[in-house]
C-alpha cells in the first residue's frame, strides 16, 4: 500500500486550462463567497478578498485561480500602491455566465438574456393582449428556446438557467382556464422546451432582488423598494433579504387591499383622457415626450401616493432609504423620485426623512430579477453579511 500522503492530486475540475468551461460543477461555499464579495464591491485585490472573507492568502490564491480558469473572474491592470510593486484588482467577468430572465405580465412579457453583471444582452417584448392564455404561454416558451438557440458559443455554454417572474395576481387572469397560468404550469412548459434549471418568483420580489444583487442596493442592508408598473407595489428589504410578506388572498381585486398606490395604469387612463396615445406607456422606454400633457399631473399624484405609503411604513419600521424603480424612461423616474423626495422631506418629515433613490436596474427590472435567480443560486452566497461600507 503506497503512502497515501503522496497520492497524486485529484484532477482539476476543469479540463486543464484548455478553456473547457465546466459550469455544471458546483462552486464551493468559499468560491461563492469570493464572487459575492466581488459583486458587492466591484473589484478587490486578493489581500482585500482575504481580509473580507477571513480566508488565508493561499486559499484566496487557489480560489481566484479556479475562478479564472472558468472565466468567472478577470484580473485587471495592476494598480500602483504606495510602496513596492503594483497589485492586481480582481473583478467578475461580465461574460462569465449568462441567464435568461422573463417577466410575465397581463399585457406583455419581457424576455431577456442577461450577463453576469445583470446587463441586458438581448431583449424582446412580447405583446399578448389579444392572444388566448394558452397561446401566450407557448409564445413565451418559444422565445426562451429561441434565445438559447441564437446565443452563439461560448456564451451559450455559459447560460446557467432560466428565471421567470410572475405577477401576484397571475391566478386571476385566466379564471376560465385555471390550469394554464400559475407557477407550476409555467415551469412545466419551459422545462419541456429546455434542459435548464428553472426558477420562478414573484415579479416585484425579483426586481427588488436584482437591485440588491446588481444595483444601487448592493451595499444597503435595509431599505424599502417601490416598483411603479401596471400596479405599484412595495417590498421591504431587511439585512439584504427581500421580505415579500404574506401572499394576498386569491381572486381578489387589488383595490380591495386598501392604500393602493398610483400606477402606470392611472397614467394610461390620464393619457387617454388627454387624447394622447396611451399605449406609449407600455411601448416606449427612452422618452415619453408624447405623454407630456399628462405627465406633470400623474407624477404629482403618483409621488403623493408614494410619499403617503412611505410615511405609513415609517410608522412601523425606520429605513434610511427608499429605492423607486419603474417600467419607465429614466428621466421620468428621476422626476418621480424628485417629486416624492420633495413631498417626503417637505411635508412629512422635518428631519430624518428617508433618502429617495432611483433604481439602477432599469425598466426591465422584473425580467432582470428573474434572470438573477439562476445566477444567484449557482454563484452567490445567501448574503454576504458584512458591514456596509
Amino acid at each position: 500500500m503506497p503512502d497515501m500522503r503522496f497520492a497524486p492530486p485529484l484532477a482539476m475540475r476543469v479540463n486543464d486550462r484548455g478553456g473547457g468551461l465546466n459550469q455544471t460543477s458546483v462552486r464551493t461555499y468559499n468560491e461563492r463567497l469570493v464572487m459575492s464579495l466581488l459583486r458587492q464591491h466591484g473589484s478587490l485585490s486578493r489581500m482585500e478578498l482575504g481580509q473580507r472573507s477571513g480566508l488565508s492568502a493561499q486559499t484566496v490564491s487557489v480560489i481566484v485561480r479556479a475562478l479564472e480558469r472558468d472565466n468567472l473572474v478577470l484580473a485587471g491592470e495592476a494598480q500602483r500602491g504606495r510602496v513596492g510593486p503594483p497589485s492586481t484588482p480582481i473583478f467578475l467577468n461580465p461574460e462569465g455566465a449568462f441567464s435568461i430572465g422573463a417577466s410575465v405580465a397581463a399585457g406583455m412579457t419581457d424576455v431577456t438574456l442577461i450577463d453576469f453583471n445583470g446587463a441586458i444582452r438581448r431583449h424582446r417584448q412580447i405583446d399578448h393582449d389579444a392572444r388566448a392564455p394558452g397561446e401566450r404561454l407557448e409564445t413565451i416558451v418559444a422565445a426562451v428556446a429561441e434565445f438559447v438557440a441564437v446565443t452563439a458559443p461560448p456564451w451559450r455554454d455559459r447560460i446557467v438557467g432560466v428565471g421567470v417572474s410572475l405577477p401576484e395576481d397571475i391566478d386571476s387572469w385566466s379564471r376560465e382556464e385555471p390550469a394554464i397560468w400559475n407557477a407550476a404550469t409555467v415551469e412545466a412548459a419551459i422545462a419541456k422546451a429546455t434542459d435548464f434549471s428553472i426558477f420562478i418568483q414573484n415579479d416585484v420580489t425579483a426586481a427588488a432582488g436584482a437591485e440588491v444583487i446588481f444595483g444601487v442596493a448592493r451595499n444597503m442592508g435595509d431599505f424599502a423598494y417601490l416598483f411603479v408598473g401596471r400596479s405599484t407595489e412595495c417590498r421591504l428589504v431587511l439585512n439584504h433579504r427581500v421580505y415579500a410578506g404574506s401572499p394576498r388572498p386569491k381572486q381578489g381585486r387589488r383595490n380591495e387591499y386598501g392604500g393602493s398606490m398610483v400606477s402606470l395604469t392611472d397614467l394610461e387612463e390620464l393619457a387617454a383622457a388627454r387624447s394622447a396615445e396611451p399605449s406609449i406607456v407600455w411601448r416606449a422606454f427612452d422618452r415619453w415626450d408624447e405623454l407630456e400633457g399628462a405627465l406633470p399631473e400623474w407624477i404629482e399624484r403618483c409621488a403623493a401616493s408614494l410619499a403617503d405609503s412611505i410615511a405609513a411604513m415609517r410608522a412601523f419600521v425606520r429605513v434610511g432609504a427608499v429605492v423607486i424603480e419603474g417600467r419607465m424612461p429614466r428621466p421620468i423616474l428621476e422626476r418621480l423620485c424628485q417629486a416624492t423626495s420633495r413631498l417626503t422631506v417637505e411635508e412629512r418629515f422635518a428631519e430624518g426623512a428617508p433618502k429617495i433613490i432611483p433604481g439602477e436596474i432599469g425598466p426591465f427590472a422584473k425580467a432582470i430579477g428573474a434572470g438573477s435567480l439562476p445566477l444567484h443560486s449557482r454563484f452567490m452566497v445567501e448574503q454576504v453579511g458584512l458591514a456596509p461600507t
Binding site: F6, R17, A57, Q58
Partner: protein
C-alpha cells in the same frame, strides 16, 4: 522587514547562456536581483539557486548535493523567519537519467512544499506563504545537451498544469513562468538577461498580488 527565499536551480543562480560553466549574471541582472529592486527596501530577498538542483533526487553524475530535498531543511532553517518561500525547480528533473514523468516531477515539488509546511519557518512558527513557480518549457534544440534531456521538451510542456494541480491540492500560490519568459535559443534552457528582467518583474507583481498588511 519581510523576507522571501527563492529556492531554485541555475535559472535562479543566474547561470549565463554562454558555454562557460562559472559565468553568472550580475547581482542586479539575475531575476532575484531584479525582484529585490522591484520590491524595494521593505523586503530581504534571499537567493538560493544552485545549478543542477533537482526537486528530490541525488544526481548520480553531478552529485548528491544537487538533491533539493536534503538541502531544503538546513537552508530554510538558516534563513528563518521567512514570509515567503518561492520554489522554482523541475528543469533538471527532466534529464533522461531520472526517468520521471511530468506528474512525478510535480510530486517532487509537492514533497518540498509539504516539507516546508511541516518546518513552520514563518513568523511565530507559522507556515510561511509558499509559491510554486513552474519553470518555462525547455526548447526543442538544446545545442548539444539533447541526449541528456531526451524527451524533456514534451514533459516540460506539461509541468505548468501538473504544478498547478499540486498547488491547488496543497493550497499554495502558483505562478507559471512560461507565461512570461522562455529560455534563450543559445542553449535552450537558460534565461538570457531580458528573460531575467521579465521574470523578476512578473514575480514582483505576483508577490504583490498576495497582499501584505503593513504590520508584520
Amino acid at each position: 522587514m519581510r523576507s522571501v527565499l527563492i529556492y531554485g536551480d541555475s535559472n535562479t543562480f543566474g547561470q549565463t547562456t554562454a558555454d562557460t560553466p562559472d559565468d553568472r549574471y550580475g547581482p542586479d541582472e539575475r531575476w532575484p536581483g531584479v525582484l529585490r529592486v522591484k520590491l524595494g527596501t521593505r523586503w530581504l530577498v534571499i537567493e538560493e539557486g544552485l545549478s543542477g538542483r533537482t526537486t528530490v533526487s541525488d544526481d548520480p553524475i553531478e552529485g548528491a548535493d544537487k538533491n533539493g530535498r536534503t538541502y531544503l531543511r538546513p537552508c530554510l532553517t538558516s534563513h528563518k523567519p521567512l514570509d515567503l518561500v518561492i520554489i522554482m525547480l523541475g528543469t533538471n528533473d527532466l534529464k533522461a537519467r531520472f526517468n520521471k514523468s511530468a506528474s512525478e516531477i510535480a510530486m517532487g515539488v509537492g514533497a518540498l512544499v509539504r516539507d516546508t509546511i511541516g518546518m513552520r519557518v514563518g513568523r511565530q512558527q507559522k507556515v510561511p506563504e509558499i509559491m510554486i513557480v513552474s519553470p518555462p518549457p525547455i526548447l526543442e534544440d538544446l545545442r548539444g545537451w539533447d541526449a541528456g534531456f531526451d524527451g524533456g521538451r514534451a514533459k516540460s510542456l506539461r509541468l505548468a498544469s501538473e504544478y498547478e494541480r499540486i498547488a491547488d491540492q496543497l493550497e499554495v500560490h502558483f505562478f507559471d513562468a512560461g507565461k512570461v519568459v522562455q529560455p534563450s535559443a543559445v542553449d535552450g534552457f537558460h534565461l538570457d538577461r531580458e528573460g531575467h528582467a521579465k521574470l523578476g518583474a512578473a514575480i514582483a507583481e505576483a508577490i504583490a498580488d498576495i497582499g501584505w498588511p503593513d504590520e508584520l
